[in-house]
């Protein structure tokens, strides 16, 4: 079976199982297939529901994330799914399956991280579950958000002629993970790598979901389509292309490159573009908007102190993602998603 994170096989197992009529009657505005589900609320408001799971050895390890990092990031990743619809996070439920080697003190620290993130984003933690696990820690989080009725920004709203934007640089989290995976024993050895800048490590361990950027895009009516960069720019762009039946053309020269990332990547013999396109968990927003909004968007984001990069255009055509390289060539971008611990790392 291919890695599940990449191909979203969940659609194969869930599509068409319940009729549109049944779902509509239950009040479901948008079911499985976007960052969050949308359900009818009251007086001009709808509810958003998102659920995301982090698994030891798949998404993190002792050497890459502290206990409180795990708790913080598990909630942050879910808040990001609410941000990707333009919504406001409100409530969370947290379920932890705890292996024998995790004692009560480590669990307390994990919840310290959960509550630190909840505090920062004004989320009320209202429930969850704790069970034993035979060997690996698993954290599942459900976040409930609120949004103006009918306004949720879907993946399917991209149209030819729009521009593609990013609300921040990408690849930082992948760069941070790269550094964290180098063991201390390697230090000074022939395979040693320079210590990654604090900002990259921070991006990996304590990501910042883009709630404010999402709210601006919704409130101003600018966001035509939107995704959060959890699986990497390539994968998120593909999801928009497929959901909207359009082609996304990204321009290599327009992709934001963090200076620290470029320096760290080059010191390690890695092409920074690999991380920028295929590194996940940066939790900035990737979306499309009408060209007539470009100026107003740039001004507004600048005034708010939030980055905004115009990185490409939407064209008519079969769903695909193309990179116009700095050399002027057009290169198809594969759908490949983010893999924390590629083969070889795992044993």
């Amino acid at each position: 079976m291919p890695p599940l994170d990449e191909f979203g096989l969940i659609r194969v197992w869930t599509e068409g199982r319940q009729s549109k009529e049944m779902l509509a009657k239950a009040g479901v505005t948008l079911g499985i297939g976007d960052d969050a589900a949308v359900v009818a609320g009251s007086s001009g408001q709808e509810w958003l529901f998102a659920m995301d799971t982090m698994v030891e050895e798949i998404h993190f390890r002792n050497e890459t994330m502290s206990e409180s990092d795990v708790g913080y990031k598990a909630l942050a990743a879910n808040i990001s799914d609410i941000a990707a619809m333009g919504g406001m996070p409100k409530f969370a439920l947290v379920s932890v399956s705890v292996p024998p080697q995790w004692d009560s003190n480590r669990m307390k620290q994990l919840y310290d991280g959960v509550y630190m993130c909840a505090e920062k984003y004004g989320v009320a933690v209202i429930g969850g579950d704790t069970t034993s696990a035979p060997r690996h820690l698993v954290v599942s989080v459900t976040v409930i958000g609120s949004i103006e009725a009918g306004k949720a920004i879907r993946r399917s709203g991209a149209k030819a002629g729009q521009f593609v934007f990013l609300t921040g640089p990408t690849g930082l989290s992948a760069g941070g993970l790269h550094g964290l995976l180098k063991k201390p024993a390697d230090e000074g050895g022939p395979d040693s790598v320079p210590v990654p800048p604090h900002r990259l490590v921070q991006a990996h361990q304590r990501p910042s979901p883009s709630v404010k950027a999402g709210r601006i895009l919704l409130e101003q009516g600018w966001g035509a389509s939107l995704n959060d960069v959890s699986d990497g720019v390539a994968s998120e762009a593909w999801e928009i292309a497929e959901a909207s039946h359009v082609k996304l053309v990204l321009k290599e020269t327009h992709l934001p490159l963090s200076g620290e990332l470029v320096a760290y990547a080059r010191d390690n013999g890695i092409h920074p573009l690999d991380w920028v396109l295929y590194g996940g968990e940066d939790y900035v927003l990737l979306g499309t908007a009408d060209k007539r909004h470009e100026l107003a968007m740039k001004e507004h984001f600048r005034a708010e102190g939030i980055p905004l990069f115009i990185i490409g255009e939407v064209e008519a055509g079969q769903p695909e993602v193309i990179l116009e390289t700095s050399a002027g060539a057009s290169k198809p971008i594969h759908k490949r998603g983010y893999n924390h611990f590629p083969k070889g790392y795992n044993e």
Copy 2:
């Protein structure tokens, strides 16, 4: 660390983390600590949120549950938490962490079970997540329910003078599990056990959450306190005693004993009371009600074809659970919860 399922350590890690004011302002009527959280809805309605996780080797194994059983039961257990408040289940999110040995076909079967249960209880499956897992399958489910505002039946409503009731017999699921754990290789050997009756196996693999019983208790205003029997009668009675600051006195002669269970237990040299009090996952409801309702409740439940057993009384005093034995003695019942695979089974 003591088994997590038993002591609900989640309270230790979560209690007092967010102020009552913050939670109230966010619209939280009831936070962590009951079967489901209660959140303000609209026009006389509130939302219920429950989250429950099932882990391979902790809650099930290949030999005890088929793939579709796992999916069915994971959703059923969550629906039961909504029933335990008197609510109506509406939506579900399902997150599955999939180890390499689970191929796509097994996953399809798991979702077959999820959707079978969803169909039966009118639940719309609106989202979730699929990730890889290094070794063991983990299924987390969040169920969202709806309930009449201010009417949710809490654990804390028991008062001295009320009677204690059960909406069905207990111990069946534990009996079924006992049979399922005997390997075929044992058959005919000196340790062989009789095959457990189909009803016990069914109770373990395809439990029926008590949504209808919960609705009656709410609509008629009869349920003063309520819990679903997920961790066993002893544990659920203790939770009510502690949340309500009362003593629950259960009468051994009043505890419902399924004839099939008694026969199967005795054939295996097991005292059926062990399963009745300490076996979990029967998903009937345990609660308390005012004595003046006793007659009307009995008639109504009989007319609806739902069992109702009066099994004891609520008394004033320090929180505890007492069993009045058939011999007339008073025996304290320990808080011990349900353990699927006790030590010795696991290796």
